[in-house]
Symmetry: C2
Subunit: 711 residues, 2 copies
């Protein structure tokens, strides 16, 4: 790609950004759209809705940017919880890192690269290849390369410093949030699974007798999980029917009539639709009543067991209970809203098969995704396109068209294909058998991250030299050389990839108007009313992998092609503003993940750093500076040791609270007058919602209520 | 190697076995040797010693075999503890597995191999190469290979069944031993490390205040660890001196005089040696008193904290205590006798460097060990030896000499070199920074096992095809082929290797007479009186790796060259008898490892099985039966899944007792009248022995005793 292509791309993207910014500013002010663009405020009755028409409504304005900027971190924490703050801190971390990187890259490295004469590119500035701005242009064996060498060391130090700082900050926040939290059911509750079944006594009786025998002083109550998948489906049907009935009741009697088709295609008598659906509803209710009584007997060998103290619950989580460690398996209970109920119905064998299926599916998707990658690679290579489609020759020779095709289209196509992946990954993770939505999300996030790194970074980089050379990774000695040969050449592609991402965050905000667009990505998390536009959960599984992938690009290309850095900085800055806004107005946080995303961010950054080091070792070797290569070898080792230390120092807090905190918090509770009320509420906290909902829908029927009592 | 070489080797070994058996039978009956051959009985005053001379004493007898055979498993458990029983069960397991293997191998596979005509070896039976008895002799593509195929599947099933059975049996034993044990200090004690140091208060005060604040109901007492390395050295010196003094006091006054050398080489006045050494002793005692007072202030940031209940101690082990997980690190305390006190003096940095040193040393030893391997390989190749040393030509042409050299010497040299390794591995593991002897032993056992597998198995196998082709393991696809080409060719070498091992177990029993021989391997575990011939610890680190390596040989060669199987069976049988005897008469078990060796045995057997599968996949490919190769692929996967299941099912018990057991045992204690006495004893249970010993040696000095009180 040449500089003018990049400029074309930047131009198109700036125009698009401006367009979307304007659209968003106008659209969000329309009163009809308030449920779409600020559903959180509507839900909380906080929006100052006005139906009066004024001209201002049609003019774009930037007031929302200021309003998004105003709240402090403490405000965000109180308003939106820990996850939102951690998410924003990922942006802040990236902004800090890439601000340093941009200063170093643009002021020091870029001029050195540009003044090199390795690539004999005599064209004028706008027609210069982007490679002239990369390390490829520095002369082999030049002493200027030592500047790059120092930059790698300094930049690694900077990233590590910020990583440590963030890790510490976030773990402090976790502790503070814990201390300031009111008593929460999940703090007092343990999920016990694989309770052995025998004919003698029910699961409930077993749980009761085990915990009263061994933990008489701390045991409080329990809730056995039931097989409710069928009931859930009936519930959904009943909900649809009751909506239909409500609508019909508001219609006039005449409108409700319809002519039923008789036998042999004859026209039958007219029927009142209300009667028809009421009959149907009665039948359904009968069915549900039967199902409810069936469910009462159909226990899953799992139970949520609540205790009188946090420390009591924690010790039971950490200790093996019975001599057979595969029975009575204990783990921290997720938040009640976070429980993925359908999962409990699956048997061990079903879970086993679904895991195998998920692995196979991931492999298949990874291979299939090579098709768009190959298409993109051929687009970047115009002459090949001309050979394949000779009739395009005339069109391709127009400068602007060729610039759009090489500089813009390839990365856009990849972006679109990649946007299809998050829901796929969520579905796969949901199938895999996690018991909490948060676990599904984290698993999907990791899947998505590796998928992006592998299929966008490695597939593009390696297809440049030889299509999909997986075998490179089987010869560890050659990896630095192969990467050093292939990675710099793809700099221009990734620059344009970053540039085209500029408006996607904004566009997804605008496209909220089209419900299909965003419900597609969120419906897997929570089936909900299609008229509710709040994003129900914390769907960071699509955004965080992208952020981290950009971090990977920025870090690996930092000393190779610093031209990428300002675009990344702009991207992070725009993302920061927009997300402070898909957060303050849109999110309705349903459950907390306690910042569990951060360790993924940390590991991914460390991976990026080590990748940069490996490429650097290869580059300095190729550039005739083997001493620099040798002197770089300690750097990845030190980085990995640093990461090990960080995880050892902080990771435990992301998994469980220390005894000190639990005991202190428990003691504070003793003086809390509302604690007994809370303990009472624990008996119904872990109730399968389908059981509660079925009571609601068949409210006339009172004999089902005993089913809800904990047995 | 040809059959007659093997027969020569078997002959020599049988003769040696008989010789050692006779020697042992006679030597052990001599009254003067009773401290050597039955030190355990002497220590327990159980030996029926008779000084009367009778002719029977000079005749070999087999009564000891019967006596070794008599005790049941329960007797062994009571007499010698769990470790000894688990050790014997490894033999029983091997005997079972190889009994099945021998029946299958000798009755079914060996005839099939021998009747093949692939190797055109027309020599008569005694001159036939051993390869004629191996799978190499089966014709390519022959349907008889399907018998081998079935044998691999059946044998894998048999081994897995026995593995599961043993794992279950041993974990049941662990639980039973726990229930029947009297209260032990380690069950009630937690080792707390990395206690942060600050100027304000001492470590002891910190521990006291932390545990009384957070665990007031279960906390009992604690013992802070002190820096005693210097005191240990002084103690040793004092012990030597006091022995000398005791000897001098028994001598006459005249003998004690010696003429001191004056200045300028002149002869000085005569001095009483007793006075001289008593002066020295007084000075040393003064020095020790100073050191003791210094030690009292020199606390290590670690403490043994004891609790009133086992469950209390266990919960503290499993929970993270403080917000910083790198401080107040808790772990199960080892048995008091098992504690490796010198280690505590090391700082974190020292430990870090010693770990790096150990890794480097292991690599260096592995590379250096290639020298004997290469020598052995050249010995097996007579013609090369003749080229190198032409003057040997005459001697080498004598049939018997050449048979001894090819069939006997190579494996003997390797055995000898390998016998040097266990003390090296123990030293390396001791340096690495473990806090318990049992941990050192387990680490040395694993090191030794991998060293044996790598340097005896892989180095021999791969040097046959191309010297030390490490790079094979970087191309996973080629591993089955390379191994299938190389492994069968080394069958005869490993058969002779097993054969020569026959008498080593016996010989090491006989060689107990030469103190150097065995003290060399044990002195690293416990510095002790040179006149005490009991084996102080459980030095399975030399025997178990050999047993497991033979298991690997037996399993991998099971279908390749079944001729190895009967020799293995004999080896295990002899070992079983001899060890039932180094156990009943010799061992004085100092600490229990609770059968922690079994998971290593299990993993090693699974490794051997998978190795066999990989070789089998390669062999069937080479032999023109690719369908069989394909059909074998599920087998390693299933085996690994089986292993995963076993570890998931049983491993947790080897690490910590389940809550159920702890609570039951704690409740049983309530009715135990001696429990308060036991709690009192806990205050001094974890006392550094060098502090106790220094009191003893300077017994006249009473003002040091307060130092022993827990602070």
């Amino acid at each position: 790609m040449i500089l003018s292509s990049l400029l074309t791309s930047v131009g198109i993207n700036l125009a698009l950004c401006f367009l979307f910014f304007t659209l968003y500013s106008i659209l969000r002010k329309q009163p009809g759209n308030i449920t779409v663009y600020a559903p959180r405020l509507v839900a909380q009755n906080k929006s100052e809705q006005t139906s009066q028409f004024n001209i201002e409504r049609l003019l774009p304005s930037a007031g929302w940017v200021k309003r998004a900027w105003d709240p402090t971190e403490e405000d965000l924490l109180t308003l939106l919880g820990l996850d939102a703050v951690v998410f924003m801190r990922i942006f802040i971390f990236s902004l800090k890192v890439f601000a340093v990187a941009t200063v170093m890259g643009i002021i020091i490295l870029l001029p050195i690269n540009f003044l090199g004469t390795q690539l004999t590119d005599d064209s004028d500035l706008v027609n210069k290849s982007l490679d002239s701005f990369s390390i490829s242009n520095v002369n082999d064996g030049s002493n200027w390369l030592w500047v790059h060498f120092c930059a790698v060391y300094i930049f690694t130090g900077v990233v590590c410093y910020f990583l440590y700082y963030e890790y510490r900050h976030i773990s402090e926040m976790i502790i503070n949030c814990f201390y300031s939290s009111k008593p929460l059911p999940e703090q007092f509750t343990v999920l016990v699974r694989n309770i052995p079944t025998s004919n003698g006594s029910s699961i409930g009786e077993k749980v009761e007798s085990f915990f009263t025998e061994f933990y008489p002083s701390t045991y409080l109550t329990h809730a056995v999980v039931h097989k409710t998948r069928k009931l859930q489906n009936l519930n959904k049907e009943a909900e649809k029917l009751s909506k239909k009935l409500a609508k019909l009741r508001s219609n006039s009697a005449a409108l409700r009539k319809y002519r039923r088709k008789g036998p042999f295609g004859l026209i039958g008598p007219k029927v009142d639709l209300l009667d028809h659906y009421q009959n149907k509803m009665e039948k359904l209710e009968e069915h549900m009543r039967l199902e409810l009584s069936r469910v009462a007997g159909a226990e899953v060998p799992a139970a949520f067991v609540s205790f009188k103290s946090r420390y009591g619950a924690a010790t039971i989580t950490h200790n093996q209970q019975r001599t057979n460690p595969t029975e009575w398996v204990t783990e921290q209970a997720p938040e009640p809203r976070d429980v993925h109920w359908p999962f409990f119905s699956d048997s061990f064998l079903q879970r086993w098969f679904s895991t195998i299926f998920v692995v196979a599916a991931c492999v298949a998707i990874t291979i299939l995704f090579l098709i768009p990658v190959v298409i993109v690679q051929s687009l970047a290579n115009l002459s090949q396109l001309e050979t394949w489609f000779p009739f395009l020759k005339g069109i391709l020779e127009i400068a602007f068209v060729s610039q759009v095709i090489t500089g813009y289209l390839p990365s856009l196509i990849l972006q679109w294909f990649l946007m299809l992946m998050p829901p796929v990954m969520i579905t796969l993770s949901a199938v895999q058998g996690y018991i909490a939505f948060s676990q599904i999300q984290i698993s999907a996030c990791i899947k998505m991250l590796w998928f992006t790194i592998w299929n966008i970074f490695f597939a593009n980089v390696l297809s440049g030299s030889a299509l999909y050379r997986v075998d490179v990774f089987l010869e560890p000695k050659n990896i630095p050389k192969v990467l050093a040969e292939a990675v710099p050449g793809q700099a221009s592609f990734f620059i344009s990839y970053v540039v085209t991402s500029g408006w996607t965050s904004l566009s997804s905000e605008v496209f909220r108007l089209i419900p299909l667009f965003w419900s597609f990505t969120t419906k897997y998390l929570c089936r909900k009313d299609p008229n509710d536009f709040t994003v129900p959960a914390n769907p960071y599984h699509c955004e965080i992998p992208r952020l981290l992938f950009f971090g990977l690009l920025g870090i690996t290309y930092f000393f190779l092609a610093p031209l990428i850095l300002p675009f990344l900085l702009i991207y992070y800055f725009m993302g920061y503003i927009v997300y402070r806004n898909q957060l303050l107005n849109v999110y309705a946080i349903k459950y907390e993940m306690n910042g569990k995303f951060w360790p993924i961010v940390h590991t991914s950054m460390i991976f990026s750093l080590v990748l940069m080091h490996i490429i650097a070792i290869g580059i300095f070797g190729l550039k005739g500076l083997p001493i620099a290569s040798g002197l770089l070898i300690p750097l990845p080792v030190l980085t990995l040791l640093f990461s090990l230390y960080c995880h050892k120092r902080f990771l435990a807090l992301f998994r469980a609270y220390p005894a000190e905190c639990l005991i202190k918090k428990d003691r504070a509770d003793v003086n809390d007058p509302s604690i007994n009320e809370f303990f009472d509420s624990l008996t119904t906290a872990y109730q399968d919602p389908s059981l509660t909902r079925s009571l609601y829908s068949s409210a006339t029927d009172t004999d089902t209520s005993p089913l809800l009592a904990t047995d």
